[in-house]
């Protein structure tokens, strides 16, 4: 297991370098002079020169790249053109907001998706199976925008159960420490705020989790169906093992690898793809941070934001790979 982990970690190095290269050249692939593009038509020659220097664009590309990597190693992600503040200093709260939301969305998606998939496979062709799979199809095809607004309408306006926007009750604000509000409120022992934070997470969590939930449910079902037809399942049943254990223990373990792959990929997608949900629910996350940067042509922010999301994506997939090995011992010998 250790050797496998080390090998996978080593493989990350070229991947991460490749990513920095792509992100680095992205900003340089912009047609024309980026400084001119950023500053617009009215810019004076001087302003363009100073920005070119600030962006380091007056040097040969390999020196720029080395500089860029050096800065990355010291944790310097550059300076936002729009707010003139350090990106490494301001990015964490956004990232924390998105992480918290994505994790909750994933928990909802996995719990409901996996169970729905299992039960559908267990009672194949039953009314539950049909209903669940139709719902899954609807879930995949539903626009997040619409779903979010409908949730707000139903659960905030009509029923008044849950808040419609934001991360907290702003009249009873959370003191941010880690910016992961669930943790912050627990550390401070503020159960009232903890409950508020959870309430604020539910609607966006469901909106964001619906598509992965549907995909996971369908994946689990097909994978389970395959496994449940295999010999060892029949043996287990012949031994008189309760059906519940046959399904949840013997079959699920063997059916889980493809499901895990899907979960890993979906989690990565959520991080970058949360922008619609973040917009509808006024969630101050990384998706909106990057989106705003695009609108304002804040290239350093775009560059660093994308890099961070990409790095997390890679690491989630690493974790998934390691989990494969934990679930299926055969994998580490490959």
């Amino acid at each position: 297991m250790l050797a496998y982990t080390v090998r996978r970690l080593l493989m990350l190095i070229p991947v991460l370098f490749g990513m920095t290269l792509i992100v680095f050249f992205m900003i340089r692939a912009i047609p024309g002079d980026p400084a001119q593009v950023i500053l617009g038509q009215q810019a004076t020659e001087e302003a363009i020169k100073s920005l070119t220097k600030q962006l380091g664009l007056d040097q040969p590309w390999y020196l720029q790249y080395i500089d860029y990597i050096k800065n990355l190693f010291t944790g310097d992600l550059g300076t936002s053109l729009r707010t003139s503040s350090d990106i490494s200093g301001e990015i964490w709260p956004y990232l924390a907001a998105t992480l918290e939301l994505s994790l909750v969305a994933m928990v909802i998606a996995i719990f409901i998706g996996v169970n729905a998939g299992i039960i559908s496979a267990w009672f194949q062709n039953s009314w539950f199976d049909y209903t669940a799979m139709v719902l899954a199809l609807v879930g995949v095809s539903m626009p997040v925008f619409w779903l979010g607004l409908m949730e707000q309408w139903a659960f905030s306006l009509e029923l008044g159960w849950l808040p419609s926007t934001g991360r907290e009750n702003v009249r009873n604000p959370v003191d941010a420490i880690t910016h992961l509000y669930l943790i912050d409120t627990l550390i401070q022992g503020r159960m009232d705020q903890f409950v508020e934070v959870i309430k604020h997470l539910i609607l966006p969590g469901i909106a964001l989790g619906t598509i992965p939930m549907a995909i996971i449910a369908r994946m689990t079902r097909s994978s389970m169906l395959e496994v449940m037809r295999s010999d060892f399942v029949r043996t287990a049943r012949a031994k008189g093992t309760k059906m519940f254990w046959v399904v949840y223990k013997h079959s699920l373990k063997n059916a889980f690898i493809p499901v895990l792959t899907v979960i890993g990929l979906q989690m990565g997608l959520l991080l970058g793809g949360a922008i619609l949900t973040e917009t509808i629910f006024g969630w101050p996350g990384i998706g909106r941070y990057i989106y705003d940067a695009i609108n304002f042509r804040d290239y350093p922010v775009i560059q660093s934001g994308i890099l961070i999301v990409a790095v997390i994506f890679v690491f989630i997939n690493l974790i998934v790979d390691l989990l494969y090995a934990a679930i299926d011992p055969r994998i580490k010998y490959n």
Binding site: Q42, S164, P284, N295
Partner: protein, 537 residues
């Protein structure tokens, strides 16, 4: 392993579910009492929902309305606008005098005012702020350049010197008279900041602003909320009424309305015209309409193809039914435009006869210009909603249809917003939708900025050139006499009307929605509201 994962998941979900249920009862309890939190004797907290976050809270360095909305409440300017108009009135300066040649302005300052950090507001502070700006550059202080013509040493710079003649008197010497000087001084970017805090904070001042305004900056979570608390020592007796103001960013208009209806916010701007009725029908809510200080228009780039011909541009003007646009896309909350500036601006020429909606006349003009069979052109639709243009795409479709009726085949195009502006500015569009919201309520800020030949490549997107107009606008800039000046602007509007570089479409009244408990709020035409007098009842 697997079992532990699942039991963990299960416990987590269960706790979420339980917490959710447990909380739901409380929430209904909270809902009603929210706005009254803190009791009636105190002013309570007003939560203002808006579409975007501020860029920086140093008003001198920003250009976006979302920043000014907040800084307006943290800072004061020497002079301020009226509650719902752009007439100047006293603020940090209690009195001002203008010399006969219009080149010396003397301000008497309010005594006993303190910045939020406890330092004194006085003449030195004013001088410090102006020195800071005039020694800056365009990147740092955009509005200073655009309103006062440049920086120290620049040819166009209007301000010769700013001196403190005693503790509470400041004298401005100008190189030449500038008619809108007082209106400029009242603009949000020229708010007086604490010199002490500027020194201490340096680059970080925009995140830790210190002014003299009715509210004190408390906290800023980017893209989320900005919290301001009452300034107990505000110079205006008995004000502000509110204990605190929280600005929240909720980008989507419909979601923001949902938050308003759910009681999570008390006031919102960017209310969709189509939602106005819904808010008015709700007994717990009320609507506000911002007096129009904007114009939405279709620019006709005057150096491209058939649009070079004045007759063609006039023909297109005759082909647009503005009232129909207003009824369809502004829920009636706008007035048809006939001039490039709205009627609230001094110098508005109401005697101009609008190009009436008349397709026959339009066809006649086209024929006269030699385009009897029409022609093809591009029609650019802006990709983002703006106060003066809630739905550029749909407006473009209606215009396309109107033009088709006189044989002009318009192809609708759109780009991502930054690209759109850049390309239009480069003169790459035949015709394009755009608009403008006034900065200081002065005619110069519309006519000179948008249509003078000096501003080609800047805000004159139509590349419209007219020497006669240019002479008038320049003369008006240094004519201090209000009446004389208005006459010049009226004349200028006649020329623009005749040359028709635009189809002026509408002056919209952007809608806001608020809780019915809000009293004393009147939306300001400039788009940023001072919340000093607002109460919650």
């Amino acid at each position: 392993m697997k079992k532990t994962i699942f039991s963990l998941l299960f416990v987590l979900l269960l706790s979420i579910g339980l917490a959710g249920c447990g909380g739901s009862n409380e929430s209904s309890g909270n809902g009603g009492g929210d706005s009254g939190d803190g009791g009636e004797e105190a002013g309570g907290t007003l939560i203002f929902g808006r579409g975007g976050d501020s860029v920086s809270l140093d008003p001198a360095s920003v250009t976006d309305g979302e920043s000014f909305k907040v800084t307006k409440n943290i800072f004061d300017t020497l002079l301020d606008y009226g509650d719902d108009n752009t007439d100047v009135q006293e603020a940090l300066a209690t009195d001002w005098e203008v010399s006969d040649d219009g080149k010396t302005y003397t301000f008497t300052l309010r005594e006993g005012v303190k910045f939020h950090d406890g330092t004194d507001f006085n003449a030195d502070a004013v001088v410090y702020n102006f020195e800071r700006w005039m020694n800056g550059n365009e990147e740092a202080f955009y509005y200073y350049k655009s309103m006062f013509g440049g920086f120290k040493g620049d040819e166009g710079h209007v301000i010769e010197s700013v001196t403190a003649t005693d503790d509470y008197t400041v004298e401005f010497k100008l190189k030449r008279p500038q008619a809108p000087f007082l209106k400029n001084i009242a603009m949000s970017p020229f708010a007086i900041a604490s010199p002490d805090a500027l020194e201490k904070q340096g680059d970080k001042f925009g995140e830790n602003p210190v002014g003299t305004g009715p509210f004190v900056f408390d906290q800023w979570n980017r893209n989320d909320k900005i919290v301001l608390n009452k300034n107990d020592e505000y110079w205006m007796d008995g004000y502000p009424k509110l204990d605190s103001v929280i600005f929240r960013a909720i980008p989507d208009n419909s979601a923001r309305l949902n938050a308003l209806m759910a009681g999570e916010i008390d006031l919102m701007d960017g209310l969709n015209p189509s939602d106005v009725q819904q808010v008015e029908d709700n007994a717990d809510l009320q609507t506000f309409f911002r007096p129009s200080m904007n114009v939405g228009y279709l620019g006709l780039t005057t150096d491209r193809g058939p649009l070079k011909d004045k007759l063609v541009r006039q023909a297109l003007n005759h082909a647009v039914d503005k009232q129909a646009l207003i009824d369809s896309f502004y829920a009636g909350q706008a007035e048809p435009a006939k001039n490039p500036m709205p009627p609230v601006i001094g110098g508005y020429n109401d005697e101009i006869e609008p190009y009436e909606y008349d397709l026959d006349k339009a066809k006649e003009l086209l024929k006269e210009a030699g385009y009897e069979d029409g022609f093809e052109m591009e029609l650019w639709a802006m990709p983002v909603p703006r106060p003066y243009m809630p739905d550029g795409q749909k407006v473009a479709e209606v215009l396309q249809k109107s033009f088709a009726e006189i044989g002009v085949d318009a192809e609708i195009k759109s780009y991502e917003w930054a690209t759109y502006l850049e390309k239009a500015r480069n003169g790459e569009a035949d015709s394009f939708l755009l608009g403008w919201t006034g900065d200081n309520g002065d005619a110069d800020n519309f006519l000179y900025v948008l249509l003078d030949q000096d501003n080609i490549g800047s805000n004159n997107y139509t590349y419209y050139e007219n020497q006669e107009l240019h002479d008038l606008l320049i003369e008006a800039q240094s004519t201090p006499d209000e009446e004389e000046r208005n006459k010049l602007y009226k004349e200028a509007q006649e020329i623009i009307h005749e040359d028709a570089p635009w189809i002026p479409l509408v002056h919209s009244k952007p809608a806001l929605g608020g809780s019915s408990t809000i009293k004393g709020f009147s939306p300001h035409p400039t788009g940023s509201d001072k919340l000093t007098k607002v109460t919650l009842q």
